[in-house]
Amino acid sequence: MSKMSRRDFLKRSVVAGGVVMSGAGKLAFAADGSPVGTFYDLTKCDGCRDLPVPACVTACREENQQKFPRPADQIELYWPRNIKEDWSDKKELTTRLTPYNWTFVQTVSVEHNGQTVQVSMPRRCMHCDNPPCATLCPFGAQNKMPEGPVLINKELCLGGAKCRDVCPWGIPARQAGVGLYMKIAPKYLGAGVMYKCDLCYDRIRSGGAPACVEACPKRAIQFGETKAMLEAAQARNSAINGYIYGDKENGGTSTFYVSPVPFERINEKLQEQKSRQENPKAPGFPGTPVEVGNILDTANGTVAGLVIAPLAGAFAAGYAAYKTMKGGE
């Protein structure tokens, strides 16, 4: 029998208790099916040097054209602020993540073991195992699907961008002037809809691969069961004595990168590039923070308290009631 840690036991007990309490056993399922993931071999990707736009980016844009936002002509500012996030005049931008560009390639030159190595890294949503973007959406507008991808419900999203704030990479991109908030009080509440890679959900549901995977001329992107992708990444990593990214970050993701140079160095270069941009604070240009934690780790670490508190309350009440009744009150 495998050893169960106290934390695991507690977690399972809470889950079992919750399901019984809610009677919602049908609704809950453990995410232990056979979800899909991707493995990016950065020793093969060259960012399509010979093309004006990398093939994966072009394929993604063509594939998802129909899903891109169609905002209103007149977009209100986000009262009481004098801002709005409108990317509709930057639809052609392919050098960062925008509501109209769900993947792009970052290229850095890194000194490693006395050599200068150029690394190209296609970026998009990592489709995390326990995605805080989906878990923490106050309106339930984002979900981890059994197949693995994390999807945004554009009918329900109000564009608060909390998902972007809790994502270690700030992936989801916001477009104002579109979505549910336009039907309520667009000036005062809501801010648009968040957009990001859905791993070509319709394609993978019908057994296909994401458009970027098929388009890669270097076969640098592999797609399949997450487990198999992790194994492939680990094997490749051992073979080149390299570095792996995405297996531990944010508590685990379904996107694995293998690089010949450390991701700490890549991150430094990316931060340099970002700081030199026209607006260094603009979203859509993720770094590669190594072993970055999940925002939910601390909260989840306190769950035992939520089990103990009512037990303590009941115990204290029993004792108090016994004492008062004994005292004839």
Binding site: R12, V15, N143, A320, A321
Partner: protein, 245 residues
Amino acid sequence: MAQKILPDENKVQRHGFRGRFTHWTVALSTLALIVSGFGQMPMYKRYYIADLPGLGWTADYSTTLIVHYLAAMVLLFAVTFHLVFHVIRKDYDLIPKRGDFRTSYLIIKAMVTEQEAPPSGKYLAEQRLAYAFLAFSFLIVGLTGLLKVLKNLPSVNFSAQAMVWISDLHTLSAFLLVFGIVAHLAAFLFRENRPLLPAMFTGKVNLNYVKHRHRLWYARLSGKGSAVSLQEAPAQVPEENIRVS
């Protein structure tokens, strides 16, 4: 805890330490839950609330989430204490009784028209109704909150539809709770209700106020007269006797 008449002080012991402790623990933890709960929506930053001195933390989701969890623990402790204590003692004074809607109407009408109110027990009919409303809101917000805690665990995932239901019910019941609390506090806009206020701090209320407005309770405490006869023949108490000193 013991409810009793304190003739020397011209007061009645209404709540003991335990009752007041439970009330204020529920109140303060609920306030923390409401503030941190609203912080789960992206509003404190947008509306400049986080720019107010000392409120910068309200825009930080990791902080407000921990505050929400810790306050939920305190609330769970107090609520289970309250429920278990009263169930063991079979003390159901706050549970609504048949006719409470009508009696509430009569009591409120009496306040507005400044006429004699129907006799009450320890709690006024509208207090029992308010308790039921708040308890219902707490139940829904608490259950959906616990489901949200489960959902936050790495090993748990809910279907898209369940997520929408749980999230929206949590938000909706939180709004019901806020409405209930506002109504609860609004009760003190009526002068007639104000003598009850000291009971939440010192545990005591004015004896003449009890004799006048909580005649059934007074009868029970003093062992004088039956509730039925009191209901039929409300005592006439001069207005000046009900003022709290």
